[in-house]
């Protein structure tokens, strides 16, 4: 067990926790963007900025003993579940200090002790695996649950269909969290999917399906918590559709020119971090001064994390031969 991860996970329960973590995720991804432009990030990296509320809401609702499978767009989820900025940035920059020792990269972050299984770079692949995690807990009656986080585009792949059907038939404790950010790579959802609310597909498996405001971290948290409670009480699986948006392109090589003018601005008006900040101020939990103090503190921490990561050594060649077989 990794103490710091557990503490970071627990911190989500504090009044300011979600705001702080979302702010951190945003800052880390802005840093990753810089590192990418500076040539420190190889292959492709998929930012989740704009979707922070989903990642944090899921992590806040889940227990560290619950399993989460998620996608290559997993930086936010990893940080939300408890991984540190240093080990996330370290992995993305291929350093031995990274959460996978620099062997995985941006698409394969892992933190099993807080429930994060190596993230999945194959669309839809995480769903059957989450179903299996739920099966294991049903068999051992461990009382855990599993959460599969995936995108709107993944709702058109066979694994989605088979996984929901299997989970439904076996009443498995699994929650399917679809991050509907309106695009699958460069393709708008309307061009790939004939239904407007993916939550409606739950009916094909006779399980509950709900549309959730993915920009409201509290709404995400309570929807996931409710679904997890149902799951733990033998109520079977739930499909949750989080309506959200990614500010950046699909990956760092995508300028996202395919988006209609104004769409981004419209979503920026419902930025999950800003929304949460106003709430905190309205209900008197914090003052604007406190929040901006937090912002600068986090900015500094993330900058330090990036420095630490880049200062760390790269893995040794011989390591690539290790852990191929357990």
């Amino acid at each position: 067990m990794n103490g710091e991860r557990q503490l970071r996970r627990a911190a989500l329960a504090t009044p300011l926790g979600p705001f702080e973590r979302m702010t951190e995720i945003r800052a880390v991804e802005e840093r990753i963007q810089i590192l990418y432009n500076e040539g420190h990030v190889r292959g492709s990296t998929h930012l989740s900025n704009g979707q922070e509320a989903v990642a944090v809401g899921v992590a806040a609702a889940a227990r560290p003993t619950d399993i989460v499978t998620c996608t290559y767009r997993g930086h936010g989820q990893a940080l939300a579940l408890g991984l540190t900025p240093t080990e996330v940035i370290g992995e993305i920059t291929g350093r031995s200090i990274g959460c996978a020792g620099g062997h995985g990269g941006s698409m394969h972050l892992a933190g099993p002790d807080v429930g994060l299984w190596p993230t999945f770079a194959i669309v839809g692949a995480g769903l059957p695996v989450a179903v299996g995690a739920a099966l294991a807990t049903q068999v051992t009656q461990a009382g855990h649950a599993a959460i599969a986080v995936f995108g709107d585009g993944a709702a058109n792949i066979g694994a989605f269909h088979e996984s929901l059907n299997l989970a439904a038939i076996w009443r498995l404790p699994v929650v399917f969290v679809c991050e509907n950010n309106l695009y699958g790579e460069y393709t708008r959802i309307q061009l790939s999917t004939p239904v407007s609310d993916l939550a409606d597909r739950a009916a094909a498996y006779a399980i509950p399906g709900l549309v959730v405001d993915g920009q409201d971290v509290a709404a995400v948290t309570s929807a996931v918590r409710e679904a997890l409670d149902r799951a733990r009480n033998d109520g079977g699986p739930t499909l949750l559709e989080m309506k959200t948006y990614r500010y950046s392109g699909h990956s760092k090589s995508d300028p996202a020119t395919y988006r209609p003018a104004g769409e981004l601005d419209q979503w920026l008006r419902r930025d999950p971090i800003t929304l949460e900040a106003s709430k905190l101020i309205e209900n008197g939990t914090a003052t604007e001064e406190q929040l901006s103090a937090i912002r600068s503190l986090i900015a500094a921490k993330v900058q330090q994390a990036a420095a630490d990561a880049l200062a760390a050594p790269e893995p040794e060649a011989a390591e690539m031969l290790m852990h191929v077989h357990p």
Partner: protein
């Protein structure tokens, strides 16, 4: 020692592991209530109950993937793929996910699942239900592959596979399910992965065989009726294969013949032949020889399918030609006249 059919040996191996390890579960289509399409899970539902022995919908991607997830969560799932072809709709979960779990988690997670699949030709199931397809599971670091040649290895390799900390595929030659063999049950009957087994000893040639080609090789030797003698090596595990045993045998005989139920192009035997030829460069009395299936789909017609898979007659004739000429005989489909 008890003489049982291979399908019974499989049932026994599963029963013994279910008995000794509470984390073992079984998943597959019609394996529970019906006892399996080939009756290789018969009676296990009654003994171990519906929580551990489960019938699945026709959703290979989901239940193979579920096995991966359950394995990562601490169980030891055994999945039955009724026909190995069905893995073709779910291969991603095994090759691109399960085989990488240990590597990507730097050993923190493992995926100790076993995939059992019936494979191969010989029963007239036609070209979409008769392929062997071992190549889908080779060249995949992180994945192991075992192939029993009868009841003894079906029992011993399956138990070893279930206990292995990583993902293992066991391809059960469908044509052998009904065949009987003496089996030693219990711990002593476990056959470790990665080791070959010498089933006959001789001096003229080393016959390397796998699965159903082991009995074929033995029958070929009998047909030779003393004309030549052979070491017959049952590989038992194809990934990783037992280089030592094979090389040592060929060092003794000076000749290598691999009998494969695999196409001439792309078959697994080339790796054996090439490795041995390199290790024993200059020491071989003849070039390594592969006896394989032709580069064609598996035909339905009985006479054609019998010709398709290497027969004892074919192996015997190819071996004698090799011994007589010191050269590789052409495969039967390139030779004129009946083989």
């Amino acid at each position: 020692m008890t003489k049982v059919r291979m399908r019974q040996a499989v049932v026994q191996a599963l029963a013994d592991e279910l008995e000794s390890d509470p984390t073992v579960i079984l998943l597959g289509e019609d394996i529970a209530a019906a006892g399996g399409a080939f009756k290789a899970t018969e009676g296990l539902l009654d003994r171990f109950g519906p929580v551990r022995v489960r019938d699945t919908p026709i959703s290979e991607m989901a239940f193979l993937g579920a096995a991966v997830g359950a394995a990562m969560a601490g169980l030891r799932p055994v999945v039955e793929m009724m026909f190995v072809e069905f893995t073709g709709v779910a291969l991603d979960q095994l090759v691109t996910e399960a085989a990488k779990v240990s590597y990507l988690s730097r050993g923190e997670l493992t995926a100790p699942l076993t995939v059992r699949a019936s494979a191969g030709a010989g029963l007239g199931f036609g070209c979409q239900h008769s392929q062997f397809l071992d190549h889908w599971f080779r060249a995949t670091p992180g994945l192991k592959l075992a192939v029993p040649s009868g009841a003894r290895t079906a029992y011993g390799l399956l138990r070893a596979a279930i206990r292995d900390p990583g993902p293992v595929v066991v391809l059960e030659p469908r044509v052998l399910y009904g065949e009987r063999e003496d089996v030693e049950f219990g711990e002593a009957g476990i056959v470790p992965l990665g080791r070959a087994h010498r089933v006959a000893s001789g001096d003229d040639v080393t016959l390397v065989a796998l699965g159903a080609t082991v009995p074929t090789g033995v029958a070929a030797l009998q047909q030779a009726a003393g004309a030549w003698s052979a070491d017959i090596v049952d590989l038992q595990t194809l990934v990783p294969w037992d280089r030592e045993t094979v090389v040592e045998s060929v060092r003794h005989t000076g000749r290598l013949v691999v009998v494969e139920e695999a196409p001439y192009s792309g078959g697994w035997g080339s790796e054996i032949c090439d490795y041995v030829a390199g290790e024993l460069f200059g020491e071989l009395k003849a070039p390594a020889l592969r006896v394989t299936t032709p580069d064609a789909p598996v035909p339905y017609s009985q006479p054609l399918e019998e010709r398709f898979v290497p027969s004892p007659e074919l192996v015997a004739s190819q071996v004698s030609q090799l011994l007589a000429t010191g050269r590789r005989p052409a495969p039967w489909w390139e030779q004129s006249g009946p083989q």
